[in-house]
Assembly symmetry: C2
Homo-oligomer: 219 residues x 2
């Protein structure tokens, strides 16, 4: 590291932007806010928080998730750091993007301070249209969408989008939504055989007949 006199140079600000994904009605949804001030007033944006000097990046992400959703202990991971010079027109802000995954049953979201509404946006609709999205958040969302599709192929990330107990059709929907394609039931079940195990429990309810509940195998 070159010698550095901290007082001599202007520093960028560092923020954590949050991509809180869930699946609702067989669609991938993302927690968005509507900006209520300039720049990009009225546009959809990712929730974000500035990194405080006394917290790590993971701690900033946890705080942001708690502030936006009221939840703690949900799965999250660092996605990528975005550092284009003029990504925020006010000043240089480097954004460390974090991705969180949460089953929709668990997700209660609330408007944070300084924003009008926090709401779930359909990701395909959001990206398909030519709707403006604040800052470089379209790029961040596109990158996250690509990473999700990619990671579901070679990791067990999909399990963060179902509860501890789940039916096989529920799990298949998660895989299908993340991959963006339908899967053959028999192939899917074969592929999952090493990852999940039957429980003694069944779903209840009058609308459908009971289905077997599964859980992830301990690894």
């Amino acid at each position: 590291m070159e010698q550095y006199d901290a007082s001599k140079y202007e520093k960028p600000s560092v923020a954590v932007d949050l991509l809180v994904f869930t699946i609702e009605d067989r669609r991938l949804k993302l927690l968005m806010i509507e900006r209520e001030e300039e720049p990009f007033c009225g546009m959809p944006a990712l929730p974000g928080v500035f990194v405080r000097m006394d917290e790590t990046l993971d701690e900033t992400a946890e705080r942001g998730i708690a502030e936006e959703t009221g939840l703690s202990g949900i799965y999250f991971e660092q996605l990528y750091t975005f550092g284009d010079i003029h990504r925020d027109p006010r000043m240089r802000i480097i954004s460390v993007a974090y991705m969180a995954l949460v089953p929709v049953e668990k997700l209660a979201y609330k408007a944070g301070e300084r924003v009008r509404t926090a709401y779930l946006e359909d990701v395909e609709d959001l990206l398909a249209g030519d709707k403006e999205i604040a800052f470089d958040h379209r790029k961040i969302i596109e990158y996250a969408r690509w990473r999700l599709a990619n990671k579901v192929e070679y990791t067990d990330i999909a399990f963060h989008l179902v509860g501890k107990l789940f039916t096989l059709p529920e799990l298949q929907i998660v895989y299908e939504v993340l991959l963006g394609k339908e899967l053959y039931k028999a192939n899917f079940r074969k592929k999952m055989a090493d990852l999940i195990e039957e429980t003694e429990y069944m779903t209840s309810g009058e609308a459908h007949r009971p289905s077997r509940l599964y859980r992830r195998k301990e690894s």
Copy 2:
């Protein structure tokens, strides 16, 4: 993003730390420097540069690679951002780590300013010992080593460690070194069949008999 008065808060510094990997003598090597000032004076460290206000993170990485190796246009990608509060004892520095891959023939390295030596270190030796490494760079190197082994399985990242033309044994060595295990020649060639194609060229030289040279297929 919450409202933010940039003048009110202390900001972290942001640096790019570089992991320049190559393969030499069938071993994975990493470009390291020896620190010549406190903290961690005399210890091995990753080369790093501070992010300037007028350059993107990728541009910082390119500049750092050029300063350390004299090379431009080599493959690099962002790895992960490390933000532990006390990772640098002097002040809060958030490090965006970048990983570069370069064939050893191309790599000329030179001592930067402010460091005594830049040299290639054997990665397994570096991580296996209890040798001290500056800052949190052991953690960064371990993460990069894991990612490389991981990415070689499902991407074509290995091709950045051979030249434009290569023999099949050269390519197999790269895969074996990154995966950390030997591969059966026949299986390896079968797996590569879709990715590479024969050229009309052969290796020359008196020590060995000529071998066919291959190149990556255009995708």
